[in-house]
């Protein structure tokens, strides 16, 4: 337990002493994770809507696959992407292995199925409620999809936050494709892994508390945005 209180005080010191290295690491963590979530959302929401709406042979299999892919082991994804991006691999010529770009790619792969699977469920449920009314009002498929995405926006924000949580918490994928390079691809989670391996448990736990704080902060901001949205646009 003394480790715990020591860790808390380490966390405080880190945050309020203006430790430049810490804020670089926090900045990299956020930029990698937010970029990955943005890409996954940009591609995943329309994919989820498409899957909710359209009926085609193999649809049910695809739904099961995406649901299962929500639990993809990060370390496996990291390994596969490493093999893809390695100089000896098919995409080696881009040279993005051991850079933040590779980390964004890996995390986007992890978050994408979450966005697709969960948004599909949200939109499908909403469509069950709305379909008769929207068809009666003359909304064609394209307009209806837009209406569903907009009307489901609060549930969909939660879907995006679930994706964010997954990316912010993982270390297995980014440590392989990023290399945990000091000052370049070291993020909160990979730094925690490193300090743990050096036996500096108080620092590792302290960093952990800082990470938790950041994640809570992001979620609080999202909640605030939702409240403002609800008040302005009318829920």
């Amino acid at each position: 337990m003394s480790d715990l209180s020591q860790a808390l005080s380490v966390a405080f010191h880190l945050m309020f002493s203006g430790n430049r290295e810490l804020w670089e690491i926090v900045g990299l963590s956020l930029s990698v994770t937010l970029s990955a979530v943005a890409i996954a959302t940009f591609l995943g929401l329309p994919a989820g809507a498409f899957l909710a709406f359209c009926r085609f042979p193999g649809r049910n299999a695809l739904i099961v696959i995406f649901n299962a892919a929500m639990g993809l082991p990060p370390v496996v994804v990291g390994l596969l992407i490493y093999l893809l991006l390695s100089r000896s691999g098919p995409l080696g010529q881009f040279g993005i292995l051991f850079t933040p770009k590779a980390m964004i790619v890996a995390q986007a792969f992890l978050v994408f199925p979450i966005v697709v699977a969960l948004s599909r469920q949200v939109i499908e449920d909403l469509w069950a409620e709305y379909s008769e009314q929207l068809r009666s009002l003359g909304s064609g498929p394209l307009k209806s999809v837009g209406t569903l995405l907009w009307d489901g926006r609060f549930s969909l924000v939660t879907v995006v936050l679930a994706g964010f949580g997954r990316a912010a918490a993982e270390v297995g994928a980014i440590i392989i494709v990023g290399g945990n390079i000091d000052g370049f691809t070291r993020t909160m989670t990979t730094a925690i892994a490193l300090e743990t391996s050096k036996g500096d448990l108080a620092l590792a736990l302290g960093l952990g508390f800082v990470l938790l704080f950041i994640i809570v902060l992001v979620n609080a901001l999202a909640w605030l945005a939702r409240r403002t949205g609800e008040n302005l646009a009318g829920a």
Binding site: E129, E230, A233, G234, A235
Partner: protein
């Protein structure tokens, strides 16, 4: 100025509909002409909702045919107010404007909300309105579609008397604008207040189609008579 009518008369010929292996409507033949409101009466489970949805174009008949003024039933030229309206997650005004896909939508929506007496709630989130207010928004929204026929599926079944009266007044006003009203209800008082002619539906068959006074004064079939007495529950 109303555009030339293309949805009336509404003619059903030997129309049938099934769902889940169960035949819900059998051999319906019916002609609804322009004029005062047509009320579809019948106990629960008679098939009133399905009939309205067929005529609106939301469902396709399994047998026979439906012609609206010689064309297929279309959601473009007709509108339907459901028993429980689905309000979109936006303001009352935005809900009505949604139904108008053109320039000037907001102005027209505001005018319609005024006609249904809800101007003061225009900026309120539609989902936060009372049942009666939501139904009036739904009416304004359906009205905004500029329909030739307005179908209503038991619109006041879940409302209190005051809200019911407000809805009926709006329906009457829409009717006075030249829109054909076809409304399903099991509320006899409502039918008496609004009907021009009655279509009596029982167990998926049309048993009577008569002018309102004749129906209420002297129903032709025993089932209709029982229904008017309050003895026909299904």
């Amino acid at each position: 100025m109303r555009a030339p009518m293309t949805s009336l008369p509404l003619v059903l010929r030997d129309t049938g509909f099934s769902a889940g292996g169960v035949e819900i409507l059998h051999d319906l033949s019916l002609a609804i002409a322009a004029g005062p409101p047509t009320i579809v009466l019948g106990p629960n489970g008679a098939g009133k909702s399905v009939l309205l949805r067929l005529c609106h174009g939301l469902l396709s008949p399994a047998a026979g045919e439906i012609r609206a003024g010689g064309n297929s039933p279309s959601t473009e030229r007709t509108a339907l107010v459901f028993q429980r309206p689905v309000m979109l997650r936006r303001t009352a005004l935005a809900n009505v404007a949604y139904a108008i896909g053109r320039k000037g939508a907001r102005e027209r929506a505001a005018a319609l909300l005024e006609r249904v007496g809800l101007s003061h709630l225009a900026r309120r989130p539609a989902r936060k309105l009372s049942g009666g207010e939501q139904q009036r928004v739904a009416l304004a929204r359906a009205w905004a579609r500029d329909p030739e026929i307005l179908f209503l599926d038991e619109p006041t079944a879940s409302l209190d008397p005051a809200a019911t009266r407000a809805v009926e007044d709006i329906v009457a006003e829409i009717a006075s604008q030249g829109v054909k009203i076809v409304m399903a209800t099991h509320d006899l008082g409502q039918a008496r207040r609004l009907a021009g002619d009655i279509v009596f539906l029982h167990k998926g068959r049309i048993l009577e189609h008569t002018p309102a006074e004749d129906f209420f004064a002297a129903p032709k079939t025993p089932q209709a008579a029982a229904f008017l007495r309050g003895d026909l529950l299904t």
